[in-house]
Symmetry: C2
Subunit: 369 residues, 2 copies
Amino acid sequence: MPGTAAYQTVVHLADGRELIYFDAEAGAGQDRAAYPDTRPLDPRPGAGESRFDPLLGEWVAVAAGRQVRPYHPGPDVCPLCPSTATRHTEIPAPDYEVAVFENRFPSLSGPPEPPDELIGPLPHRLRRGGGRCEVVAFTSDHDATFASLGEARVQLILAAWTDRTANLFTLPGIQQVYVFENAGAEIGVTINHPHGQIYAFPYLTPKMSKVAQRGQAHAARSGGNLHDDVLAAELAGGRVVLQNAEWVAFVPFAARWPYEAHLYPRRRVPDFTALDDAQRAAFPAAYLDLLRRFQRLFGDDAPPVPYIAAWYQAPAAEPRAVALHVEVFTIRRAPGKLKYLAGTESGMGAFMQDIAPERAAERLRALAP
Amino acid sequence: MPGTAAYQTVVHLADGRELIYFDAEAGAGQDRAAYPDTRPLDPRPGAGESRFDPLLGEWVAVAAGRQVRPYHPGPDVCPLCPSTATRHTEIPAPDYEVAVFENRFPSLSGPPEPPDELIGPLPHRLRRGGGRCEVVAFTSDHDATFASLGEARVQLILAAWTDRTANLFTLPGIQQVYVFENAGAEIGVTINHPHGQIYAFPYLTPKMSKVAQRGQAHAARSGGNLHDDVLAAELAGGRVVLQNAEWVAFVPFAARWPYEAHLYPRRRVPDFTALDDAQRAAFPAAYLDLLRRFQRLFGDDAPPVPYIAAWYQAPAAEPRAVALHVEVFTIRRAPGKLKYLAGTESGMGAFMQDIAPERAAERLRALAP
């Protein structure tokens, strides 16, 4: 695939999980691979299970083994820092650029088994296995943030996202590959080291399912692509925050979060693997600019802004009309004030927005570097 | 309607909002009504607006005036405590049992106007007005919790929910009446005084919309009612936590939250107004038992358990096949540990459950008084 100029080196951790070093230079990975994982690890948990909620028609992943996962470990026990002679982490090498590995406490794991129907007055549906959860360590520097990285590193991360997307879509039964980053303790991040995650789902997530359905209904009604039409509407006089030759970020018309922006490539592609060289080259500047504006929303001296970056990629199944884009949003609504998901949001899925989307776009526009 | 043995007294606050005292005894309300609201209040904000998200097909309420609402006021400025000679709150009387009033910072408000189509390459849809947000103060005791109330008070609260439901469904364009309680700072509650809320929506919330659709599909396929069949499955060998002659609480098969229980009347009704006397009489014991088990989950000395109680009532439109029930859930997954809605949940609507629902039901069952 074009533009994925990264060198990969695959090793295995002590419990058999894969770890992949992504490097910009040839040879670096081989050096890292010389360091084995010598930890005495427990065997990996069995296949996860997902259950179908008959009222809402959504799958819920149940992974009871995850309760023991790390919860705010101190920096001296960070599992994403490189290993040293005396401290063995998830990453055996003494340094790395970008490292991807299978999550030790996955919500989705194991080979897919045929779904069960649990018979009763109402058949409950359950599926075991299918899916994979990966961690993407963005840098060996524990104290960095994504926004503090350089463009070359973001290019390497994009190459890793691209390669993993291609790879995960080849696993049996995978319907959606979801790349995301949780940042900040207020989001529930339990490990501060800069990292993201990739979940390969054996079913469509609820939001993806809705977006795909609505896109098909829109195409049937208008002949157009829903994402193209949304982007055109924003460019024609909407809430654009920033743009370069290949990418456009805007606050959506019906934003749910205090500050929320969606970043699209101008030319629609279904997933990372379909980005061309020009789109890849222009991505780091646009994305870093966007994240840095989010950080400046509450002042340069504010604690790191909590945010979620959620990548939509088209599902595996045709027509694959969902457009690759990332939705970035923060739950901070003012310095020291958070947007909580309470009774309306968590109970009924109904969002209450306190900040006019046009005002949010104005503020983000004004925060140019 | 049966069983709503409560006396109501309606007064108006200084800015014109309605306040209704609900009392178990005749005459008490008239005494309370003798106290006028003498505060110099700003005029009420204009009609709220809701915007349609074209990607997800959901309405989002936008109420930019709410950013100034109270955020964790100290007990000396609690707006839900009764007024005194020197401190004027939202409730002018020097004492009350249950008080319901229009929210000063509503997300939904004003008379409904016809929806606009904002023309562009993609027409954006916006609606102004429609809906109403109410606060339900459960007691004048600032330091109480719902679980600490007596059965008679819960009966009065049920009467208030019933009356408000009947009343709000008569407002123009109301499609859903949503009764809920947010409890605990971790849920984002900014006022500790025990209270709940009622939102009257001029559209169906996303979850209600899905549940109603799935219920209709289930009826078309099987001839049965989805809620009846779920309840029957739980009673036949599921995750029942507690039951009495009229009510049954269970952990759902595909629970999303660390501890979650749904409380249904055995005989299905569409909303509060259709409960009969026996169902009303049996409700307080069942609901209090459930809430108290939630409180005991983390030890008697644990800080008050954060929870959301979300009432489903059938939408206004036929077939009204959605069953009245309350879903109670906590975001606390272990002492000192919270379940956050991060990238999978907030980004894609995909829930990751750490605790097997059968294990959660066992624990809740074991916590009988």
